[in-house]
Symmetry: C2
Subunit: 332 residues, 2 copies
DNA sequence: TTGTATGCGTTATCAT
DNA sequence: ATGATAACGCATACAA
């Protein structure tokens, strides 16, 4: 009957109900309408299985109730959970979510930005790595973890406080010689705050500490930690009694490696990670860790993005982290 | 200058370039146009930072290049990876992906279906649980893991073969008395195929076996396995020497539990899981497992969904699984 | 309170 | 080859 497929349009509903187009529109948008008419329209809608075309709606209103979410992936537990929480927060506000996985590919990140622009989404939430990412001023943007300028709100865990907390906890747990381990992108500056906070905590408590930092930008891999660990740890030797790893994954790998070297965790060495992966999904890694408040991060992003009546948006929002005990530290 | 914001429209480009609307449209859609004109238009597009409005495009063409993906969540490693793979497969075909996490909530599943309809997406890929889910005939639909009728293509791992393979592997590994363990929804029938395949394999090889199946629909939880395990396993006792768990998560939990009971894995009892979670993400669970081909599943879903020139679409596509050795079985 | 007409930004059809 | 115009489906301002 219609152009393609037999999909009902508003016009068909109007005809079926014996009313005019405007009346149907009003019923759909919850505007006051005669009770009699309302029923007729609703019956027609049901009968024809009518659904408003949100593309036509979006065109008319310049409002699409869609937000693009740009993430590296949904495989890593942190990102998977983040995607899920963002979806929930958006859904609660009746917003749709366009997911864009970039695999940390700079070019893909830019392509997705442009796609979002074309799609006239109402906003973008991005966790990106491209240092030269071009962000249009025409569209609300909130970044996660990576500040992109004072005019773009950035939401992150309080990484500095997290690093500090890790140092304090290891101190409380009786550690004397601490080690910080990290591998990651040089550009990625949030983990640097974890390091800075950790250093700060060590200094505050007069603790000895050392840093072992690898750069994957420079081509180093996680395996390059092995000789370092072999040098400092062995059957009856441990140059450090407390380790803070920049994330839970690294913590798990380090624990495995230490066990292979005959070092007991947590008896000889205590390890704290960062992320809270242990709480993600259904698996229990029981790694002591600094937990990132993923739900709060998601909620804050959406809140800031959709808030229109703010003359000035906060450039950086740091959400509180907390320590959660696992099997890689001794009971306090 | 314009209605809201200073976003350039095609008309603005036409004026800036000093050509007509139709010419601009042609340039954008790669239709033949005079070289001179093409340059002028492209310059104007760049100058005005113009992006086509895909909502207007979608309205005109009844084609949105958008697919809705309905999943329980993106937290579970299997789903997180599935979402990611679908995103990649869709992206390669220049399709956008609308993500919908349902948390297995029947009503949410239905709401998302309706949302997809409103949004006039070009298709839906769903992994749903609602047995009464109403699926519109007006829109291509592909289901994962759960057959919804002969006219709706279903893509799944070859679960029967997987169960069979598990039995065979345990047989090859020298096991004599096997156990199948499962917890899950009663409605969920794919894991039942794993059970059936497993039984089949046991029978074929003349193996003793037992089933322990819990139903979370009936309110049973994973903890209810504990008394069962305590009854059958102990310091110097093991009623079974090979266990096939319906998924890797359960396998991990069972292994933990057995270790607590003083049973050695894989020396006393060998365990095989299902999913391939060990390959998901960056963590290595080293659980011997039947691996689901997630990338292939995603690719097949997208292929079937977008394939228009097929007079008949296959009602059920089973993709091959494979065995991958981990630390919960002895080397072959 | 209900109906009518116009425009949102794009594409496709038609003249030119 | 290029330019003008109608139509996509909906919302809204305005007229009845």
């Amino acid at each position: 009957m219609n152009k393609r497929k037999n999909v009902a349009r508003m016009k068909d509903v109007a005809i079926e109900a014996g009313v005019s187009l405007g009346t149907v529109s009003k019923v759909i948008n919850g505007k006051p309408v005669g009770e009699e008419y309302e029923k007729k329209v609703n019956d027609a809608i049901k009968k024809l299985d009518y659904h408003v075309n949100s593309y036509a709606q979006g065109l008319k209103a310049s409002r699409t109730y869609t937000v693009a979410v740009i993430l590296p992936n949904t495989i890593h537990p942190f990102f998977g959970r983040l995607a899920n929480c963002l979806n929930v927060s958006l859904m609660q506000r009746h917003y749709r979510m366009l997911l864009c996985c970039t695999d940390q590919n700079y070019q893909l990140e830019q392509e997705y930005m442009d796609m979002a622009l074309q799609n006239k989404v109402d906003g973008i939430i991005g966790l990106t790595y491209n240092p030269d990412l071009i962000i249009s001023d025409d569209i609300p943007y909130v970044t996660i973890d990576r500040p992109l300028g004072a005019h773009i709100p950035c939401v992150a865990s309080d990484n500095f406080a997290g690093g500090q907390l890790a140092a304090e906890k290891l101190h409380e747990l009786g550690c004397k010689k601490l080690l910080f381990m990290r591998i990651g992108s040089d550009l990625n500056n949030e983990p640097n705050k974890r390091r800075a906070g950790f250093e700060n905590g060590c200094i505050a408590h007069g603790l000895d500490y050392e840093m072992k930092i690898l750069s994957d930008t420079a081509g180093e891999s996680i395996d390059d930690f092995i000789p370092y660990l072999e040098k400092h740890f062995g059957k009856d030797k441990a140059d450090f009694d407390g380790i803070f790893c920049v994330n839970d994954l690294l913590a798990c790998i380090v624990v495995e490696q230490l066990k292979k070297l005959g070092v007991k965790v947590p008896e000889d060495v205590q390890v704290i990670g960062f992320d809270g992966t242990r709480n993600f999904g259904y698996l229990d890694y029981t790694c002591s860790t600094i937990v990132q408040p993923v739900e709060d991060i998601a909620e804050m992003c959406v809140e800031l993005l959709l808030q229109t009546n703010m003359s000035m948006k906060p450039p950086l929002v740091c959400l509180p982290v907390k320590y959660e005990e696992g099997d890689t530290t001794r009971p306090l």
